[in-house]
């Protein structure tokens, strides 16, 4: 069944916990799994779901993200009736306004959505790593005649107090929402992925506009809808899903791919791939003394040293006798002769000088950038 759906991807956040990786770049533009950027995942998921009208809401350091998005060609959104557009906060008749919260970002773009005239709006985050299609969730929303549908994932009950928890009845209708509760009533955590019937969302956004709230979906809109007795449905997501907002979660998710130890299948059939930018590079080259195990590497990489359990991006050069172990080496970096790196994330275009040892103690994830000397 085809419905009229517009997706809005929230890509405005800073990603404060990713240090220098997000100093000059929004989090969704950060590199992942040697070849991708985080935003490739929600965008590709939309393409693979037949959702071809997408607004990307940017705010923090959007330049790289905006030029990356371009005309949407990388994910196929340059066809007829397709539209991928970047929407930054702007000056209007009413003054200059930053997006004040996740909901406010949508509120400020009500006119855009009205012009698209969707039946349903899919709200996504630009920070999540997962491979899926949204059709099942949208079908559930329609079939259950819900006003809003929230994607939830089962979490370890011990971890539940870190999340927004949804308590449901036997039809999976949401009966209570708890924000980071000390005594969670279920282990279903909200993923920040929502399907709304547009007419209804629109009403609530307008009401929220001048209210004294944080203008946040999870914190304000959803609880208000629940209080008003609207029908909120839980959609149980099954599969790999990660919020890579910290260095350690970013590192771990990269390792999941390198070590081939998770459900995230990037190698499956061609029709539901994750799409991304293709670079004009030679295939990766492995030298005469090179070794590489339990790792992934992208084209343009030149590996002359030793790589183990790592993620090597394009145009990375690893010189002879260098050792890279459990690392994420991003685009264009150079690891010079004899350098040794353990458990480290290497920012793009970093140069690690010859013989330098990084993170020898290797219990915590290290992050390096720029020029790394002894």
């Amino acid at each position: 069944m085809s419905h009229n759906v517009v997706a809005m991807i929230l890509a405005g956040g800073k990603g404060t916990r990713l240090g220098l990786l997000t100093k000059k770049m929004a989090k969704p533009a950060v590199s992942f799994a040697a070849k991708y950027r985080i935003i490739d995942f929600p965008l590709s998921n939309c393409a693979n779901s037949g959702i071809n009208t997408i607004g990307v809401l940017t705010q923090y350091e959007p330049t790289i993200l905006d030029s990356y998005i371009g005309n949407g060609e990388k994910w196929g959104f340059n066809g007829v009736h397709a539209l991928l557009t970047s929407i930054a906060p702007r000056q209007t008749d009413e003054g200059a306004n930053w997006y004040k919260g996740t909901a406010d970002a949508i509120t400020q773009n009500i006119e855009f959505l009205d012009s698209m005239n969707p039946d349903y709006v899919l709200i996504l985050s630009g920070d999540h790593i997962y491979k899926t299609t949204y059709n099942e969730m949208i079908d559930l929303h329609v079939d259950s005649k819900a006003d809003a549908t929230i994607s939830v994932i089962e979490v370890d009950p011990k971890e539940a107090s870190r999340f927004g928890i949804m308590a449901v009845d036997e039809t999976d209708r949401i009966v209570e929402f708890q924000e980071k509760p000390k005594k969670p009533k279920s282990n279903l955590a909200s993923m920040g992925v929502y399907v709304f019937s547009w007419k209804i969302l629109r009403k609530y956004l307008i009401a929220d506009k001048n209210a004294d709230t944080d203008h946040d979906f999870g914190g304000d809109i959803i609880p208000t809808m629940l209080k008003d007795g609207l029908k909120l449905q839980a959609y149980r997501f099954k599969g790999y899903w990660r919020d890579v907002g910290t260095l350690s979660s970013l590192h771990e998710a990269n390792m999941d791919v390198a070590l081939n130890r998770s459900d995230l299948n990037l190698y499956g059939d061609h029709s539901t791939r994750i799409y991304t930018e293709d670079t004009y590079s030679l295939p990766q080259y492995l030298g005469r003394e090179a070794s590489i195990v339990s790792s992934i590497a992208n084209q343009g990489a030149i590996i002359l040293g030793h790589v183990k359990s790592s993620v090597i991006s394009n145009e990375v050069l690893i010189e002879e006798d260098a050792i890279v172990d459990r690392c994420v080496v991003m685009e264009g970096s150079v690891i010079k002769r004899g350098a040794k790196l353990y458990n480290t994330i290497v920012a793009p275009y970093t140069v690690v000088e010859a013989g330098v040892e990084v993170n020898l103690k290797n219990d915590e994830i290290a992050l390096v950038g720029g020029k790394v000397n002894k």
Binding site: K35, I274, L282, P283, L286, S295, I296, N298
Partner: protein
């Protein structure tokens, strides 16, 4: 791509231009990228057969065109004639007259797909314009003409002009070899192409230039190119050049920093290496999953090498699957070959074994 060399079984069902090279390119990508990087945005591809193979490779042509409104990439194809020898590039141009004569260009550059090089045509177009002459040819002084570029045209040059042609039979160590790159004044080319039928219906562009120079109809400029040129004229050339480019010294002469080689994208994920993978001196393209051993080889997209397998001195085209404990040496396997039942296939250094497309062994 008319009258292009045959690379044995590799070109049995495809033109030379779409033969896979170095794991991710088609041979024609180098010429197309030369045009692109030289700012030449109106490009025609002359195809004599297997049009479908070219279409699959170039898709909508936007890969090599800078501005898709002001630029264009056209496929020129001629219906099959009673005899293939009449299906020359000139014939193709005449059959596609509407597109060919419609251009308002001043100059046209012809270049083949089988000489791999990085060349900026602008320099030579400038020289052509300055000379005031209507036809130019680009050649290279080869230092190994006894063994390389056999059967290619030798150009005898005098005072920067083409004096005569000959065929390279390997008699001399050094010789000027025509790179079959021609620059014409557009009007001149249109005139000549229309008149060629009166001379011979078997003529192609190369013959035409030869005829013009040797019969003194036009003075043909001879310009020298002294960069790296890898000829791919035989199946052995193909394997030799592939292996040669495993060396950085050779690679950096063909792949220059400011001269990217563009090609089609296939949305393939990064290459993945298993816990017991052992890979040395090889190219590995994205999408490949290597669990075994790979030495001195070219591995294309989506290739699988299982545990215990040893692939040495091989060129595996995309989608090849090498089963557990299989040993391959000096093999070229075409796309989607599966080698599972056989334990060992060993060819020779100057005689690789070719396994055809989709074979199940």
């Amino acid at each position: 791509m008319h009258d292009a060399p045959r690379l044995g079984k590799l070109t049995e069902k495809r033109p030379i231009g779409t033969v896979s090279f170095l794991g991710r390119y088609g041979l024609m990508d180098f010429t197309l990228s030369n045009f692109s990087n030289s700012g030449i945005d109106r490009v025609g591809i002359l195809v004599d057969r297997w049009l479908h193979s070219v279409i699959s490779h170039v898709r909508d042509g936007s890969i090599w065109i800078n501005n898709t409104k002001t630029g264009s990439q056209r496929l020129f194809f001629n219906e099959n004639l009673p005899s293939h020898k009449f299906n020359t590039d000139i014939n193709n141009l005449l059959a596609n007259r509407l597109h060919f004569e419609d251009q308002d260009a001043d100059y046209v550059v012809f270049a083949p797909a089988f000489f791999l090089m990085s060349i900026d045509f602008r320099k030579y177009i400038d020289m052509h314009i300055e000379s005031g002459r209507e036809i130019s040819l680009i050649y290279k002084k080869c230092k190994n003409a006894k063994e390389e570029f056999l059967n290619c045209d030798i150009v005898k040059v005098e005072k920067g002009l083409v004096k005569d042609f000959a065929i390279n039979s390997g008699s001399a160590k050094e010789n000027n070899i025509s790179l079959e790159i021609f620059i014409f004044n557009y009007k001149t080319l249109v005139e000549l192409v229309n008149k060629t039928r009166e001379i011979s219906s078997l003529f192609n562009i190369r013959d035409l230039v030869n005829y013009c120079a040797t019969n003194k109809l036009y003075q043909v400029n001879a310009f020298s190119f002294d960069g790296y040129v890898a000829p791919v004229l035989t199946f052995n050339d193909f394997t030799k050049v592939s292996m040669d480019l495993l060396s950085y010294e050779n690679r950096k002469q063909l792949f220059k920093e400011d001269w990217p080689i563009y090609t089609t994208t296939h949305n393939t994920p990064p290459a993945q290496y298993g816990p017991n993978a052992k890979v040395v001196n090889s190219f590995v393209a994205n999408g490949s999953r290597i669990k075994g051993t790979v030495i001195n080889s070219v591995i294309s997209r989506d290739v699988i090498v299982e545990e215990g397998a040893v692939v040495k001195n091989c060129i595996l085209f995309s989608g090849t699957k090498v089963g557990k404990d299989t040993k391959l040496e000096y093999i070229v396997s075409d796309k989607n070959v599966k080698i599972r039942e056989v334990r060992e296939i060993v060819g020779e250094a100057d005689n690789f074994i070719y396994i055809s497309f989709g074979a199940n062994i």
